[in-house]
Amino acid sequence: MLTFISYWRAAAIVLNDLASSAFYACGIAEQAIGKSAPWFIVGVMLFSFTVRAVYVESCSMFVRGGVYRVVKEALGGTLAKISVSALMFDYILTGPISGVSAGQYIAGLVNEVFITADAHGWIPRAVHNIFDGTPQLNVNWTSVILALAVTIYFWWENIKGIHESSEKALRVMQITTVMVVILLAWSAITVAKGGAQSVPLPTPENLHFTKESLGFLSHRFPGQSLPSLFGVLGILIAFGHSVLAMSGEESLAQVNRELAHPKLKNLKRAAIVIAIYSFVFTGLSALLSVMLIPDAVRVPVYKDNLIAGLAMYMWGPQILRLLFRGFVVVVGFLILSGAVNTAIIGSNGVLNRVSEDGVLADWFRFPHRRYGTSHRIINLIVLLQILTILASRGNVYVLGEAYAFGVIWSFTFNSLAMLVLRFKYKGIRGWKVPPNITIGGYEIPLGLLSVFLVLLATALINLFTKSVATVAGVSFAIVFFLIFTVSERVNRKKFALAEQQMKDHFQLLQRDTVERDALNIRAGNVLVPVRDYNTLAHLRWALERINTTDQDVVVMSARVSRFGAGAYDLAMEQIFSDYEQTLFTRAVSVAESFGKHVSLLVVPATDVWSAIVQTAHNLDSSEVVAGLSSKMTPPEQAFELGRAWESIPEPKGQFVLQIVRPGNTVDTFRIGPHTPTMKNEDVILLHRLWLNITREQGLEKVHHHDIMTEALTRFARDYGAGRDREEIIKELRRTAADSGITLPRRIADQIQTVQPEPTRSNPDTKPKKS
């Protein structure tokens, strides 16, 4: 049961990661290969169209299981583990490079402001004396501190279970678009007014490698010019130093499952938007930065905040340029810190899936006692990110080189897996990378093969030219490979035992939709959502008062896979994992202690509220009995449930929500339209009106409800026509404040006012019942 999003929102989520590369990719590439770097960035962005095509094919395959299972199916267990390690390296590095880069932009701006202020004599002499000149921040260490602050902030948000908002991503991209439009338009004016320097063509003779950018090859061929030695190889090396411009493309697979119907069409549309946007932003801003920023300052001063440098070399007054630079920094901070969050969510999603695949011990996935999140995985990811930030000491170039390792190898493994699956997987595919030719009945995937060849050649050359990345990436991959291998062995033993226990205790039935008849549950049943096996007091409360011979009790666990959970749906045994088994064993023992029968149900979902409401709707439940949330008050829980209820299509039934607090006090809410509870003074007013009206001639037989109908009709007319709308809203706000009732409570009571994103039941939903 998924909450679906439009392709615009999906594109915005991916672009929050992909477009953030524009802030650092060209600076890193130019340091490595010289002034012709922008052409390689443009080339990489064009090539990213083809990588995107591979991801579209990968997402259009109707397979179940996580990334590990799918790659294992194609390449075998060992390569699958290496592939997942590379993907993890990519995700974990996304956070530090984005955080440090955001810090570089902020520190650069602060220093620029100090310089400008000093030039105008605005810095007091005393401050000047303390700093022995113009006050300046240490850019790298300031970046480290800011990156740590952003990472720790998002760590805590993710521990609490941050709701990944596509709305927020869309807003960030809208602001970024404003910046991109100003940047391009202003750059065009600048070029028209003052001309621009040319960007050297991407030929071997224009490439200038440093000792660092040749990595291991610099020891092998000291003092020799590799481009002149090899020609095309030089181009390949330069291409390898520019690939991180397309980092973030893998996020396309992470949003795939959330896309609204028609899925494939929307996936392709999102992919087009992503490709065009990132080409325009990353490609053109790279070209413009070399065209407009003088050579003397571009690398020495602005290498780590190139777009900020571009803002400073626009045509126009300095104050305007400084203001625009401030805007660039704000946008950069928004998008780059968003990428830090995406990195944590993405890594968490991948490791959760790997754990579901049985390659990571279940211990990692154990839910947080209070927030229900996979806190151990989040802690591990953030710890690795913090160590990376500290080890980098704020050096974006080193981080970029390492990051490129993860990016290129995860793309390479993905394309190789897709290539092999063309021959091994004969199931339905929504789309195939063109061109494909058929010879003698065999389809040759020329397009896929071509993309794979470029990726593999780039990944291999990067092994030689990026020494730091190779050492760091290979070490990381070995550590993760060992963790995965040991976990898999432990899990295999545990799974054999668990499988036997499941056969003994639970009869698993798999369905694509939740249907009452198929599950043999009577209408008017009571649905009891459960999450933590230590907090089943609400189940006890329900069983105490329900006679299960008259009314069924359905215990439901929503298997929430949040954004970033992966491109593929869960397989059956992944949904009913160790944790669900323990949870249901406890639920059954509670039911047995009352001598009552309960039905058990696991529902995969991205949003727990939608899952509860959709299940209650499909099962014709009359009541939902929930425990008290650790994060919300009962009215807030009712509000969330009411909002989810609003988004399911008509016809839909109403139900009563009972929230059982510790100590068995219960808050009751009606979900759906219902007769409101009237205050005593309102009843008296209505009665007084009725007395007066019935004294009028011809109105003797008027009822109380006729007066209510007339009053509401007039209210709706005044409110809807907009005549007294503002006044009505003001009055209502005053009433709400006077009665001391919080807004969620009022909305929960009068559930009709919220218009959330549309929600649909997922055809792939697979409940299980014992």
């Binding site: 083809t50 190889l233 549309r269 071509s450 993309v451 470029v454 050649a457």
Partner: protein, 47 residues
Amino acid sequence: MPLVVTLVARLLETMFVIGSIGSVAVLVLSGIEDLKTLLGREESEHS
């Protein structure tokens, strides 16, 4: 320069060049499909 290094270098160059030519074909063909998708002329959800 050792023969092995030259061979590896030539192999990587060949992979890169052949792959790049094929990738241009992917770019053009998927670009045409993208245009159709954007203009709403795509025929069916699944091929």
